[in-house]
Subunit: 194 residues, 2 copies
DNA sequence: TGTACATCAGTGAACGCGCGTTCACTGATGTAC
DNA sequence: TGTACATCAGTGAACGCGCGTTCACTGATGTAC
């Protein structure tokens, strides 16, 4: 029974992992159950031994993907050197690789799709709060964390839409300057130059 | 011949308009040609008298929607009172109505869908540059405009995802403070309090 | 330990359905004389 | 101005296809004695 349960869990995670990659690359409606199961090394019929519906998978994938990102940020934000932690988060989020990676942040790839679906809307809410909290630990306050996350997500989305490496790089650089500058606002002192 | 051409153009625009609303509300893959034509007061077969394919419509809708937004911002940004112009743009973009409106900015609703489709990728690039330029006229420089647009787009997307009116309002308020504060950065002087 | 039976993750054919697209057609609007 | 013909925006039935889901089944792994 233990082997069985363990294998089952492993397969379940393999499906979630495969779907996570495919959803981010082609959009949720751009990927069928068949393609997901093939990527997970299985056939489509077995899908319903693991999920009641595709919508249930979407909700789990959305939550899982953002939860992992939240955990990473949480870990980094525990560092005693706040500015270094902020720089680590911001620089990796706003790196050129993030624009094309199949492991891109779900906030920049499937957030609008997820928000529209009643079944999965809300699945990302809790890890989203976690990301705001983690960022908040590296910045003067909560408003800076909320705006900082928004700036990063928006710049990645717009950089992809620009369809021009130069404009894309400008978006990322401008966002980086904006967020890093927030570290020195409010009670911490005067703004640095952007 | 003039009546015919005029009627044809009107119908064409009616289809684009209907598709624009439906795409933003349900996503591009969430709306069929049939639904679009019915909303435009026609039957689905007539669609191909106006567009070679659904993908062609997607590209035109994406471009048209953002072009209109760019023109609005461009007009506002011509004002002599830069700060008032900025406030007009920012406050309307970050109003609670923007979260649920069927005429929401396409950058916050269909940008990821559009960016993924080879046929429509790039359709929004030119009006996107226009929006950056317009915002730039109300802010000290180009980096502030790029970051400001990213912040506004990101905060609307995340506010929708929050699935909680309070957190949503926090995102919008934080973004508003961030962008308005940019008006006083760089060569213009020290930062105002957020 | 060996045997008989139970479980159940995974298979693959089949389903109904809605999609994007095609096409023969209609009938109102346009042109030619 | 009136008549005959041409045009073409729009109709609606039909198409092939891929989707999400179902289901009878298989066979490896588990349990009972």
């Amino acid at each position: 029974m233990k082997d069985r349960a363990q294998r089952r869990t492993e397969t379940h995670q393999r499906i979630v992992e495969a779907a996570g990659r495919l959803f981010r690359e082609h959009g949720i409606d751009g990927v069928g159950v068949d393609a997901i199961m093939r990527k997970a090394g299985l056939t489509h019929g077995g899908f319903y031994a693991h999920f009641p519906s595709k919508e249930a998978l979407v909700a789990e994938v959305a939550h899982t993907l953002l939860e992992k990102a939240a955990e990473r940020w949480d870990h980094i934000s525990q560092s005693s050197d706040r500015e270094a932690a902020l720089r680590r988060i911001v620089e990796s989020y706003l790196s050129p690789d993030h624009l094309t990676s199949t492991s891109a942040c779900p906030l920049t790839t499937i957030s609008t799709d997820v928000a529209r679906r009643t079944a999965s809307r809300g699945a990302m809410a809790e890890p989203l709060r976690g990301m705001v909290d983690a960022l908040g630990r590296c910045l003067p306050g909560r408003p800076e964390a909320l705006a900082g996350l928004a700036t990063m997500v928006g710049s990645v989305v717009l950089a992809r839409l620009a369809d021009d490496p130069l404009l894309a790089a400008e978006f990322l650089a401008a966002a980086e300057a904006n967020v890093l500058a927030q570290a020195n606002t409010g009670s911490r002192g005067d703004a640095i130059d952007v």
